[in-house]
C-alpha cells in the first residue's frame, strides 16, 4: 500500500531515482535553467523587507538573462513567502531544496529567519547568500552560509560613534525588540561601543515585535534624562514608537539601524521622525555611477526608488551569478568555494570581498530623516 501511494504521489512526495546523482553533477540533465530559491517575508508586518529585496533580485535576474544568462543557461527565481515567521522560514528552505530543487538560495533579510533557514541549508549543503541579515550568528551556522552586507558589531559601532562624536550625546536610552536576534545583537553592539567611547546608557527598555502600546516604555525613558533613544528595531514598530514618543512630549531624536529601511516607516512615523538618524547600506543621493544605474533601472521598472535592502538583494544575485561563473558549474561544493573566494566584486552597495568568516567588509552610511525623506549625512568605513 505504501508503494502504491508512493506511485500515486510520485511527482510530489517521493524521491526520484537518480536524484542524488543529479544534484552532485551540478547540471540538471535535461533542464536548461538554473533555479535560485528566494525565501522572503512577502507578507506580514515586515512585508517590505521581502518585497523590496525580491523586486531587485528579479531585476538582476532579468538583466543577467538578457546578457545571455549564466553558464549558457537562463536563471530562474523561485520565491517563497516566510510571512516573517522563523518556522515558516525553515519550511520554505526545505521546500525550496526538496520540491523546487534549487541550486542556491538567497535570503533572508531578518536575521532570525536567516538563522532558521540557514540551519536547513547548511544541513543540506546548499549554498545560501543572505542579502541583508546583519547579525554575526547567521554566517556562523556553517560554511555554506554567506552574506553580502556588513555585520552588526560594525553597525552598532557606526551609530555609537556618530552619536558620540557628531551629535555629542553623552546619555542615550536603549529601546530594543526582544523578539528578534537582530535587534538584541545590534543593541548589544551599540551599548559596548557607546560605553567604550565614554557614553552612558541611562535606561534600557524593551518591546516585542507586534506590540502596539509603547507608552509605558517611553514614559520611563522620558524620566531618565536621555538625550536620544537608540531603537534598533524594524520599521513596523519604529514608526509607531516615534509617534508615541511625540505624543508623550518626548522631543529627543531617535537613532536606529538598517531595519528602519522601508517607505512605510515615513508613512507611519510622519513628522515625528524628523531629526532622527539611522545607519544603512546605501544612499540614493550619493551613489556611485554603478549604483546610479541601478537606481535608474529600478525606478524605470518599478516606479519607486530602491531601498538599501533592495540594493543588497540585487547584489546578492550578482555575487551568486559571479560565483557560478567562476566555479564553472552549479555544483554546491564548487559554488561554496567560489563564493568564499569572491574578491573585489564591484557591486551596487560597494566593493565586496568575502572574508574567512564569509562576511564582506563594507562601509555604512548614516542618514537623517527630514520631511519623509532620508538624507545622506555621513559615510563610515570599517
Amino acid at each position: 500500500m505504501l508503494l502504491a501511494s508512493c506511485a500515486g504521489l510520485n511527482g510530489f512526495a517521493c524521491k526520484k531515482p537518480g536524484q542524488a546523482e543529479q544534484r552532485a553533477s551540478g547540471s540538471s540533465a535535461g533542464s536548461n535553467a538554473i533555479t535560485i530559491g528566494h525565501y522572503a517575508s512577502m507578507t506580514g508586518a515586515t512585508a517590505h523587507f521581502g518585497q523590496d529585496t525580491d523586486k531587485a533580485a528579479r531585476l538582476a535576474i532579468e538583466q543577467l538573462n538578457a546578457q545571455g544568462g549564466v553558464l549558457g543557461k537562463q536563471l530562474e527565481l523561485v520565491t517563497l513567502d516566510t510571512r516573517g515567521d522563523s518556522a515558516e522560514a525553515a519550511n520554505a528552505v526545505t521546500r525550496l531544496i526538496d520540491v523546487e530543487k534549487v541550486h542556491a538560495i538567497i535570503g533572508e533579510v531578518a536575521s532570525s529567519l536567516s538563522l532558521a533557514g540557514g540551519r536547513i541549508a547548511q544541513r543540506r549543503s546548499i549554498p545560501m547568500v543572505s542579502p541583508s541579515s546583519t547579525n554575526p550568528k547567521v554566517t556562523e551556522v556553517g560554511d555554506y552560509i554567506f552574506r553580502v552586507c556588513y555585520i552588526d558589531p560594525f553597525q552598532g559601532k557606526v551609530m555609537a560613534t556618530f552619536a558620540r562624536d557628531n551629535l555629542k550625546f553623552g546619555k542615550v536610552a536603549l529601546l530594543k525588540d526582544v523578539k528578534n536576534d537582530y535587534s538584541i545583537g545590534l543593541a548589544d553592539s551599540f551599548r559596548s561601543a557607546f560605553e567604550a567611547a565614554g557614553g552612558q546608557i541611562v535606561v534600557e527598555q524593551s518591546y516585542s515585535a507586534g506590540d502596539t502600546d509603547f507608552s509605558a516604555q517611553l514614559t520611563a525613558i522620558k524620566g531618565s534624562g536621555a538625550q536620544a533613544i537608540y531603537v534598533p528595531g524594524y520599521y513596523s514598530e519604529v514608526g509607531a514608537i516615534a509617534r508615541t514618543a511625540e505624543r508623550l512630549g518626548l522631543k529627543v531624536p531617535l537613532m536606529g539601524g538598517d531595519g528602519w529601511d522601508a517607505p512605510d516607516l515615513f508613512k507611519i512615523g510622519g513628522s515625528a521622525l524628523n531629526g532622527s538618524y539611522f545607519s544603512n547600506h546605501f544612499a540614493t543621493d550619493t551613489a556611485t555611477p554603478r549604483a546610479q544605474r541601478f537606481v535608474a533601472d529600478f525606478k524605470a521598472k518599478f516606479g519607486q526608488e530602491p531601498t538599501g535592502l533592495a540594493a543588497l538583494g540585487y547584489d546578492a544575485v550578482l555575487v551568486l551569478a559571479d560565483a557560478m561563473k567562476r566555479a564553472g558549474s552549479t555544483d554546491p561544493r564548487a559554488l561554496r568555494d567560489a563564493l568564499a573566494a569572491t574578491k573585489n566584486f564591484e557591486a551596487v552597495t560597494g566593493s565586496i570581498t568575502i572574508d574567512k568568516d564569509r562576511n564582506p567588509q563594507k562601509s555604512s552610511v548614516v542618514l537623517e530623516i527630514e520631511d519623509g525623506k532620508a538624507k545622506f549625512v555621513a559615510l563610515v568605513a570599517p
Binding site: A47, S206, D213, A216, G239, A240, I268
Partner: protein
C-alpha cells in the same frame, strides 16, 4: 520613578482600561443572558476598528500622519457607521451560529464560539491583508501638559466617548422597556417569556448593543495605538473578557470597573515591572479571581442546581 511619571502611567492605564471596559460590556451582557462566552466578540471589536478605518477613508479623511484631522460631524458619522456595521455583524453571528445551538449542552456553543472567532479573524486576514495599517487621524492631535503629565485630545476623547456610551447604556438598561426586558431575561429566561417578552428579539438587541460598543472601542483603540491589524482582537478580546469576569460577569458596573482595573494593572506592570509581563498580569488576575472569588467583584454567588 517620579510622581508625574506615575500619573502618566495611571492616565494611560485608565484610557486603555476604558477601551477594555467598552468591550467587556458586550461580553458581560451576552453572558448574562445566554450564559455563553462570546469568543467572537474580540473579532467584532477588530471589525469595528476596520469599519471605522474604511468609513474614515471613504469620507475623505486627510491621511497625513499629523494631518488636520476631521471635522467633528464627520468623525461622529464614521463612529456611527462603524458601530452600525458591528451591530449588524453581531446580530448575524447570533442568528447564524449561536441560535441554532442555544439549547445544546454547554460545550457545543463554546466550540461554536471558538469557531466563529477563528473564522472572523482569518477572514479578516484574507480580506484586509495581515499587514498592519496606520489608523487615519480622525481627530487632529493636540497635546496639553498638566504638571508634567501629557494629555492628548485622543485620550480625552476616549474618556469622553467611553463615559458617554456607558451612561447611555445605563439609561437604556434602567429606563427603557427593552432595557428592562434585557434585565428580565438575564434573571430568568422562562419567567420573562411567560411575561410576554420576545426573548429572541431581546437577545438580538443585546448582541447589537454589545457589538456597537465594541466597535466604538475599536476606533478609539486605533486612534490611541496608531496601528491596527486583523489579529488585534484576539489578545484585547481576552483581556476584556478577564475584565468582565473580574467585575462579575453579567454585571454592567462590574464590567466597567473590571476594565479600568485591568487597564491600570497592565500599564503599571509594563511601566514598573517589565513590558514583557503586561499580558501575563491579566491572565494572573484571571486565575486569582477564579480561584478566590469566582463570582467577581460585584457578582452574586449562584449555587449549582442539580
Amino acid at each position: 520613578m517620579s510622581l508625574s511619571q506615575l500619573l502618566q502611567q495611571i492616565l494611560n492605564g485608565l484610557s486603555l482600561g476604558s477601551i477594555y471596559a467598552l468591550i467587556a460590556l458586550g461580553y458581560t451582557m451576552v453572558y448574562g443572558i445566554l450564559k455563553l462566552i462570546n469568543f467572537a466578540h474580540g473579532e467584532v471589536f477588530m471589525v469595528g476598528a476596520y469599519a471605522g478605518y474604511f468609513a474614515a477613508l471613504g469620507l475623505g479623511v486627510d491621511q497625513a500622519a499629523s494631518g488636520g484631522g476631521f471635522p467633528l460631524h464627520l468623525a461622529a458619522l464614521a463612529l456611527a457607521l462603524a458601530m452600525g456595521s458591528a451591530a449588524l455583524l453581531g446580530m448575524a453571528i447570533e442568528y447564524l451560529a449561536y441560535r441554532p445551538v442555544r439549547n445544546a449542552p454547554r460545550l457545543t456553543p463554546l466550540i461554536t464560539a471558538i469557531g466563529v472567532s477563528l473564522f472572523l479573524q482569518n477572514a479578516a486576514l484574507l480580506a484586509f491583508s495581515p499587514n498592519p495599517r496606520p489608523y487615519p487621524p480622525i481627530l487632529r492631535e493636540l497635546r496639553y501638559e498638566v504638571g508634567g503629565v501629557i494629555v492628548t485630545n485622543v485620550k480625552l476623547a476616549i474618556f469622553a466617548v467611553a463615559i458617554a456610551l456607558m451612561l447611555l447604556l445605563r439609561w437604556f438598561v434602567q429606563s427603557t422597556w427593552t432595557g428592562k426586558a434585557m434585565r428580565a431575561v438575564a434573571t430568568n429566561v422562562d419567567a420573562a417569556r411567560l411575561m410576554g417578552i420576545d426573548v429572541n428579539r431581546i437577545i438580538r438587541v443585546t448582541f447589537a448593543v454589545g457589538s456597537a460598543l465594541a466597535a466604538a472601542g475599536g476606533i478609539l483603540f486605533g486612534l490611541d495605538q496608531i496601528m491596527i491589524n486583523p489579529s488585534m482582537g484576539v489578545l484585547t478580546g481576552l483581556k476584556a473578557f478577564v475584565a468582565a469576569v473580574l467585575g462579575g460577569i453579567g454585571n454592567i458596573q462590574g464590567a466597567v470597573v473590571g476594565g479600568l482595573l485591568i487597564g491600570l494593572a497592565e500599564q503599571l506592570t509594563a511601566g514598573y515591572i517589565s513590558p514583557d509581563y503586561r499580558d501575563a498580569i491579566t491572565f494572573l488576575i484571571l486565575i486569582l479571581i477564579l480561584m478566590l472569588r469566582p463570582q467577581g467583584l460585584f457578582g452574586l454567588v449562584r449555587p449549582e442546581k442539580v
